[in-house]
Each structure stands twice: as C-alpha cells, then as structure tokens.
Amino acid sequence: MTRALGRAALTALAAFISLLFLLPILWLLASTFRSSAETFSSSSPLSWGALWPERWTLQNLGSAVDTGFLLNLSNSIVVAAITVVAGLLISAMAAFALAVIPFRGSAMTFSIVVLSFLVPFEAIAIPLSRGFADWGLTNSLFALILPGLGNGLAVFTLRQFFLGVPHSLAEAAHLDGAGWFRIFWTVYLPLSRPAMIGAGLILFLFQWQAYLWPILVTSQQEFDVAPVAIAKAFGAFTTDYGRVFAETAILAIIPGIVLLILQRYFVASVASTGSKE
C-alpha cells in the first residue's frame, strides 16, 4: 500500500516536472497563433489565456512567409541535409579505420581525433572565420556546411558500434577476397543502421543549432540560415513579436518531430559515450 502510494507520488512528481519543461513550448505555440498584443495582455496580469489563444490567427505565420523566412528555412534544411549525408560518410570511414583496420598508431590517432573535437567548435570559430575571409570562402553554402562535417561524438559513437560487430564477419569477407572498402561498404554499413541514425541525429542537431558560425561567415541576406534570420527579426528596431514566435515555432517543430520519431536511436548512441572501451 505505501509502495503504491510512493509510486503514485513519484509519478505525479515526474508529470509535474515534465509540465514545467513543456510550459515555455506551449506558450511559444499559443503565441504563434495570436496577436502580440494578446500575448502580452494575457501574461500581464497572468491568466490561463497565456497558454490558449483567445482569437486564433494565422497572420504571424503569414508575415513570416511574406518576409522570406521560407528561404532561410530552406537554407537550413539544405545545409543540415548535406551535413548529415557527407558527415556520416566521413565519420563512419574514420570510425571504421579506428575500430576495424589494425595499424600502428591506431590508439594514438583515436586519442588525437577525440581530443581535437572535444574542444568545442565555438572556441576557435572566430579565428577560423578570419581564415575563411582571407581564403575568399565566405558567403557560400560550403562555408556553412564545413564545420558540421567533423564531429567527434559521431566518430566516437560509430566506433563504439563497429567494435561490437563480430570480427569474424570481416575475416570471412577478407578470405573471399574483399578489400577494406568492400568490407566497410557491404558488411559494416548495412549492419549499422541504428548507429548511423543516432550519429546522423548528432550531426543534424549540431548544424540545426548553428548560430555563431553563420553570423561570422555570411553577410549576404540570401545566405541567412533560419536561426540567424530569427535573431535579426528579434533585434530589429521595431520587433514584430508574433512573427518571431511563428518563425521559432517552425524552426523548433522540425527537430521536435524528428526526435520524437528517432529518440531511441539517439539514446542508444549516446549510451556508448559512457562505455569503457
């Protein structure tokens, strides 16, 4: 009896805390579908109306579209998509070499890869952007994509997964005369779908969040990715808060849905960061 009561209390606690985390998102969604005036009148003084629009409107979404937000969004999508595909290939190749191919200096190379990428990218983004300017690489999709391709966490989680693949599979393929690339492409990659999805999510989230790097390497509006466009709209002399809410909601809903569907792969991938090997 006390056990059941205890469990009920803990469940109520879990539900309460989850709701606290959810409230800002509910407020964001509600504010997307009402006028800014209503947003502020419902929060000061605070009423339940803060979480539910009184007069629904699509005007904010409309003004986001009118001011070209779809272009910014498509920039973000293109950059993230190319990053995920190219980044997965690059990370998986490195992970494969570090997990499967025996060579002198393997452990040391692994340490170098992990150590270099543990230093967060933001820390060296500013001097790097000066280099990009000197090399004439600013204002291009290439500049936006490049930093997302090297991701230590993706390499690390894929290597962990490859280490768990029975070595006998590679040996059997080897006896059949397969080279390393064929073993990588036809044995390891097809087996690694869950790990690849997890690593793909890590690459995607990094790029979808990017803010500092895009403002450093783009000055032309047509290259603004969505987070930059939102920050500009927010910082404008007269801010249209409704539009800012609508754009943020659109920007958040995409990774939100992706994560809802693929969450378990993400959890499985990050699990390997704590393992001993």
Binding site: M93, T109, V113
Partner: protein, 302 residues
C-alpha cells in the same frame, strides 16, 4: 625456410596495405581536424603576438607577449574571467545534479516514463537562438514569468536588465535546454548498469539511498564525468543568449570571455587583443579536456 620468408613477406605486405587503407579512411577526418582545429589555433596564437591600430590596414607588428601583459593588467579582463567562472561554477553542477535526479526518477519504471522523458528532452530540440528569444520575451517586465511572480504578490523583476539578476536569468535559460539533453546521456548510462548489482544490494538489505550511493553512483562514474566535462566546455563558450539578449551587459555583468572575444574582434575591430583572450579561453578548454582524459584513463587499471 622459403615458406616462412614468403609468409613474413606476405604479412609485411598486409601490414603496409592496412596502413595505407587506414590512412585513406582517416584522411577526410584528419584534414578536417587540420582545417577546423589546428590552423585556427595556430593563427590565434600568432595573432596574439601582434598588434595594429584598430581598423588600420597597415601590416601588424610583432609585439611578443605585450597583448597578454596588457590584458592581465586590465580590470575588464578579470571581470570577464570572474563572471565566466561564476556562471560556470553554478550552472554546470546545477544542470548535472538535476539531470541525474531526473534520470534516476525516470528509470524506475514509473507509468509513462518514456513520455515524461520526451517532454523534458524537447527543449534541447529547440535551436538555441530560438529558445533564447522565447526566454528573452518571457522574462520581459510584462512577460509571463513576471506574470507568475505577480500572482504570488512579488513585484516585477528586471531579470536580464539587472546586473544582479542577469547571470541567474541566463542560468535558467541554459538549464531549461541543458537538463533534458544531459539527462538522456545519464539515462543511457543507468540502463547500462547490470541488474545483478541491484539484486545483490537488495539481498544485502540496502535501502534506496544506500543502493544509489554504493551501486548507482560508482557504476555511473564514466557517463557522469563525460556529461560534466561536455556540459562545462559547452557552457564556457555559450554565445547566442549573451549576444542576442544582453550584449555582455548590463554593466558588463554577462560579458563572458567568449562574448568578449567576439566583441573585441568585430565591434572593436581589434582581432589581436581578441586573439590573446581567445588563447586564454582555449587553454582553459584544453585543460578541462585533458583532466577528463586523465580521469577516464586512470580507472582503466582498476
């Protein structure tokens, strides 16, 4: 005799082939490390030994350690160091403790645990610039946070516009995002603990607290260390909230090292003093990462 030589030769060839294959597979990643980490670090160190008039096109001159001596003598640099440390000393333990508590709560097999987990993780999916703006508006004098305070009779607080409250406000914002994200890593770590350890503790008659301290915590050492370090380096370079909401203010109270480097580089167009400050920030990052490596390496023998 002939056969052993042939075997040795073949083995030698295989070793060479493997080395070449490994090099080819690693080539793109090593190139990225060179371009994205080593080149900018070297150029930052190089620039930190030079000086030129802000905005001037003249060739910068070599000044040795002068940027550093000037920086170490400036009160504003030490204020940035103090505020950065203050923020990090609070935000990192706070986030990891709450993430750990939630991870433990949500791995106890309660009803709908997966659902609660997803809700708490959701803020991590909102891009930082977006959540920054939502919280920036929510913390306005006429926003919903002051609305809640109003309901319980507390007068409206200035939050982001007060030098005393700005760090607390940024901690709130960073934690709303970070707690759920790091919680996922810890949940994964908790799920990896073999259940036999818990059964053994139960047979020994250990209560929940005792079990947590003598089974869960030691088994969770590696994931805990990983999230603590990863969270710390991420918060040391927190940028978007400062740039979008406070510009380092009010009264430079949120002028963290990372933002100050940006500010000097672009708003003051003085990349040389910015580089000196960046070198300090980089050394702190590398120090934290090396400490983690030592700690993770040291328990390999045990």
């Amino acid at each position: 005799m002939i056969t052993t030589t042939a075997v040795r030769l073949r083995r030698h060839q295989a070793t060479r082939r493997n080395a070449i294959a490994a090099a080819l597979f690693l080539l793109p990643t090593l190139l990225l490390i060179l371009i994205l980490r080593i080149v900018p670090t070297v150029s930052a160190v190089g620039d930190s030994t030079r000086d030129a008039l802000p905005g001037s096109l003249a060739e910068p001159e070599f000044v040795g350690m002068e940027q550093f001596t000037r920086m170490f003598a400036s009160e504003s640099f030490w204020q940035s160091v103090r505020q950065t440390l203050l923020f990090n000393v609070v935000v990192n333990p706070l986030q990891i403790l709450l993430a750990l508590a939630l991870a433990v709560l949500l791995t106890r097999g309660l009803p709908a645990s997966g659902f609660w987990r997803t809700l708490i993780f959701l803020p991590a999916a909102v891009p930082l610039a977006g959540s920054t703006i939502v919280w920036g508006i929510a913390l306005r004098p006429d926003g919903p946070i002051n609305g809640i305070l109003g309901l319980i009779g507390v007068p409206a607080q200035p939050f982001l516009t007060s030098p005393d409250q700005v760090i607390g406000s940024l901690i709130l914002l960073a934690s709303w995002i970070g707690i759920g994200y790091w919680m996922m890593f810890l949940i994964a770590g908790l799920n990896d603990i073999p259940t036999v350890y818990y059964e053994a503790a139960r047979i020994d008659g250990a209560g929940p607290w005792r079990t947590f301290v003598s089974v869960t915590l030691p088994m969770l050492r590696r994931p805990l260390l990983f999230v603590l370090v990863a969270d710390t380096v991420a918060n040391f370079v927190l940028f978007a909230p400062v740039q979008i909401l406070t510009s380092g203010g009010p009264q430079r109270a949120s002028n963290f090292l990372m933002y100050d480097v940006f500010h000097r580089s672009f708003e003051l167009t003085d990349p040389y003093s910015a580089s000196a400050e960046l070198v300090v920030l980089l050394l702190i990052m590398i120090g934290i990462v090396l400490i983690q490596f030592r700690l993770l390496g040291s328990d390999k023998e045990t």
